[in-house]
């Protein structure tokens, strides 16, 4: 675990740059994180991110794409449009949540 300076402040991140302290995140930081992965944040992005953060706070896990669709109401198609190529990972990164658990 290391400390990185992102958007002019210091935050805790893992080896791949995912925030490890969800409390260090805010929507201003999300703008910077989104820029790092080539995404310009819209209200649709923020809607998905807010659900993911609330769900993580309640259950302790970053939601899967299936959970985003069935519980969060953001379809997988939409997730791919918002966070191209690797939606689960990119959303977690921008939302300041741990990388989704790769199911072993």
């Amino acid at each position: 675990m290391t400390i990185a300076a992102i958007g002019g402040r210091e935050v805790h991140v893992d080896a791949e740059g995912f925030l490890t302290e969800p409390a260090e995140w805010d929507e201003g930081l999300a703008q910077v994180l989104a820029g790092n992965v080539g995404i310009e944040l819209t209200d649709a992005h923020l809607g998905a991110i807010r659900f993911a953060r609330a769900d993580h706070a309640a259950n302790g896990e970053t939601p899967t794409l299936r959970r985003m669709a069935t519980v969060g109401g953001v379809s997988t198609k939409e997730m791919f449009a918002l966070f191209p190529k690797k939606p689960a990972k990119k959303m977690a990164y921008v939302a300041g949540l741990p990388k989704p658990v790769g199911c072993v």
């Binding site: 299936r66 069935t70 519980v71 198609k77 690797k86 790769g102 199911c103 072993v104």
Partner: protein, 414 residues
């Protein structure tokens, strides 16, 4: 009398019944619910498509595998009401319990992917997680001499997560033996970003795909199967002549109806004690539980040992003394009469090194050897004679670091 009801007489349920029956206090009885007549040795399914396993030899009648003192209701479950401690069985009867164990596993659901079960189903589109599926695929492989074979995982988690890789390795070996390998293209398609989840194993297994000239297509989330092609949510198309897919896996539907499940109907439990969230009389063991480790028989086995010790304390009103560490190990068949072994838990990814087994000697981890292959085959006898009856196996329950080596970054491309 107090009653323990076990839903499901598969690997986990059978081990629990056999381990607990001789050890429960005299005022406890066990009742089991399962609609099947036979118990299936699931690890054997992998060999059926290649004509190396007689499917009929993989099943045995259920009743002789269970303790005589157990009552078995042969039916499915409609719903559990945790508030009144009742199980509504689909033959109309109602069972009340003092403690409940859900061991109803996870099942492939091909109908969850649009187009998968259309015209091509069991003709050009196959799965090998059922006896009918593995047998139909055996016939299809017999006739398949040229074209593109696509091996595919729809979504995670799946039970036996190494099985699709094993299938791809064995298929390459099978076609080579038949002299058709040069006219068959093999593509491995996965929703993961690599051949496997954790970096060291993903690296090793990815290298093995490359050595066998099996193409790897990653980050592929299937949306539908359409006109002989897999179509992803980001509009990639992968045409196939023969598709071998691992469909979406889901827990039993009653789990969802009873409000105990996640979005895939796997039971939400404490990963160290298997106690369902918000209940102190409902447990889920084996593939039925939503645990962040492999859905595999080995996980069920290590889980049951922890669960049985804990359960006896729990019903005596004492705290549960043991915590499950997520331990799993899996043999990975790689073709040519060899296999790898991986051993890991919640915190430690599969690492190279050796795995000590008394009487057999050390097995090589993450390395292809003949001994691993023979150990995998010998496991069938161990399963029926030792594992299901609840006899202790000579391997440690908790994962051990003994023999494991953590490679430095430079060594990672073996």
């Amino acid at each position: 009398m107090k009653r323990l009801v076990i839903l499901g007489a598969g690997t986990a349920g059978t081990m629990i019944a056999n381990s607990l029956a001789p050890r429960l206090p005299a005022d406890w009885e066990i009742e089991m619910v399962d609609p099947s007549w036979t118990h299936l040795y699931q690890p054997g399914l992998l060999f059926v498509p290649f004509g190396r396993q007689d499917p009929g030899a993989l099943v045995k009648p259920i009743e002789p595998l269970l303790p005589e003192s157990v009552t078995l209701t042969r039916a499915g479950v409609d719903r559990v009401d945790p508030a009144t401690r009742q199980v509504f069985v689909d033959d109309g009867s109602v069972l009340t319990y003092d403690q409940l164990v859900i061991a109803t596993g996870t099942t492939p659901r091909p109908e969850m992917t649009p187009g998968l079960t259309d015209r091509g189903w069991r003709r050009t589109v196959h799965e090998f997680y059922t006896l009918a599926g593995a047998s139909a695929l055996r016939d299809a492989l017999q006739d398949f001499v040229s074209g593109r074979l696509v091996v595919h995982i729809a979504e995670l988690p799946i039970k036996c997560p190494v099985a699709p890789l094993e299938f791809a390795f064995l298929a390459a070996d099978h076609f080579t033996r038949r002299g058709t390998r040069d006219s068959i293209e093999i593509v491995f398609v996965t929703p993961l970003s690599g051949a496997f989840t954790k970096p060291i194993a993903a690296d090793k297994l990815g290298g093995m795909l490359e050595e066998r000239q099996i193409a790897l297509e990653t980050d592929f989330m299937v949306e539908s199967v359409d006109d002989g092609a897999l179509v992803s949510f980001d509009e990639r198309r992968i045409p196939f002549d023969l598709l071998v897919t691992v469909p979406v896996n889901m827990g039993a539907a009653f789990v969802g109806r009873s409000g105990l499940g996640d979005e895939l109907d796997h039971v939400r439990v404490d990963p160290h004690t298997f106690l369902a969230h918000d209940h102190d009389d409902v447990f889920a063991i084996g593939d039925a539980a939503a645990l962040p480790t492999s859905k595999a028989g080995s996980t069920a086995h290590f889980s049951v040992e922890v669960f049985v010790e804990n359960f006896l304390e729990h019903i005596a009103g004492r705290p549960m003394p043991r915590a499950f560490d997520g331990h799993a190990n899996c043999f990975v068949e790689s073709g040519g009469g060899k296999a790898l072994l991986i051993d890991f838990n919640y915190d430690t990814e599969p690492l190279p090194g050796v795995y000590p087994v008394p009487g057999l000697g050390p097995l090589q981890l993450l390395r292809e050897t003949r001994l691993n292959h023979w150990a995998k085959l010998a496991f069938e006898t161990v399963y029926w004679r030792m594992l299901l009856p609840g006899r202790p196996l000579p391997v440690p329950n908790a994962m051990s670091m003994a023999g494991k080596v953590r490679p430095s970054r430079e060594e990672m491309t073996v």
